[in-house]
Amino acid sequence: MRQTKNDKFLTVTIIVLSLAGLTYFGVSAIQSDHRIQRDNPFEYNIDNFAQSGASYLSYEQVHDFPLQADQAHALGVDDWDRIYVSDGNKIDMYDEQGRLLQSATAAGFIRALDVDVNKNIYLALESAVDVLDSTFTRQAMWPDLGSLAFLTSIAVGDTDVYVADAGQQVVWRYDKAGHLLNKIGEKDDSQDVPGFLIPSPYFDVLIDSDGYLWAVNTGRHQFENYLPDGSLRSSWQKSSMSIDGFSGCCNPAHAAMLPDGAFVTSEKGLLRIKIHNAIGELQAVVAMPDQFDNDADAVEVAVNSKEQIIVLDAKRQQVRIFQKKEGPT
């Protein structure tokens, strides 16, 4: 009799206990279906770096205009401050206010462009250069550079045209008629040429006021200045995660030059625009990471005659114009 009583007690206890447990599970199952706020212990956090450099911020956005371009990629400004933006195969010319002035279609996806003093437009396609005159009519199509080529930048001077080829990691020098003169930047220890290190297709070239080539060796975070024959003239390098340098495998992704020889640089990863002087010291910050969308790619930059910084924000489909703040900062 006693035994059965114990048995019954045990049975009831087990049932009550397990039902309580199952109820707990049921309730927690329903609750866990609600979305949990993110709390990532493995967050890759670069907020500190994103905020650093605010004291250098001395530019402000003065104007922007929208683009009808979901494949916006290349940017250029001519001596009359007209803005050229590519959209896939298309090239559009805008005035400073953003009014579309003229359009044309190139023979392929436009990866980079530059405009010379005669308003001729040089378009770097994936492996060839397409030249339009000021009426947007094709003048010439230069010979293809082959399947290894992957052009990322073009700089047009008074007599020379430099084309950056990230695929073959060299800069091609042409005359304006499209004759290939020589290639620059292959590793050559005897000439102290370090060789371009381009791990991904970010490889920019510029021409300074003296007509010399500057190439951005992004893998080394280095700016290199070359004579037309390909010998290294000078260089500076700034590798750092902090505001005064460049980091990652290919930065600065894009660059432009101010009349005094200072560099306007645009980075990927931490999207920001800065100005470094001719020997590489940080001078100013144009735009901070919080001024761009989180997942945007590095922005193209250009400089107009008023020393304004023109920015192509492809993610927002906008041209944004920055200018030095007035007065003491």
Binding site: Y44, F49, L197, P199, G219, H221, S239, M241, C249, C250
Partner: protein, 190 residues
Amino acid sequence: MAEKTRREFLKSGANTAAALAVGGVAGLAIGIADRGKLVWQLDPELCIQCEKCATNCVLPESAVKCVHSYSMCGYCDLCSGYLEPGAKSRDTGAENQLCPTGAIQRTFIEDPYFEYQIDKELCIGCGKCVKGCGAFGNGSLYLQVQHDRCLNCNECAIARACPAQAYKRVPAETPYILRGEEAGRYAASI
């Protein structure tokens, strides 16, 4: 007796009908079925490195781990997938490493190249290096379900938690979604 045979007849009929119903549903399913097998994989193009791969797998140690497409890697000295942002120096010091488990091995190859290898024993699939590599680098580091570990659950617990819906069932003959030249490995096989 007649009553009984009628009953038997009805029962046998119902049995046949049920067999036909099961056969019909199975037949419909077979019509759209594949003789192969499906496995779970995540599409690195959609991945946002939220760390849910590390914590939502039914296995105590996730089946998802980082892989490295060597064909895409820049072999950089300043590797944003390897080094902590703002690392004091570019070396293998623990304080400079981004990976919480130290699962990336850095080896000097030649000036200026360094090789990075994932130690799968140590990798927990948190995706921290993937984010670093994707932000500043090429995206040669990315996460993939490792099929020697994956139990191939009918409903993958990570797939359910994935905020980017990057998980999908892929044919077992092409069980990885790789990048760079490595992607060709599975394109050639079909």
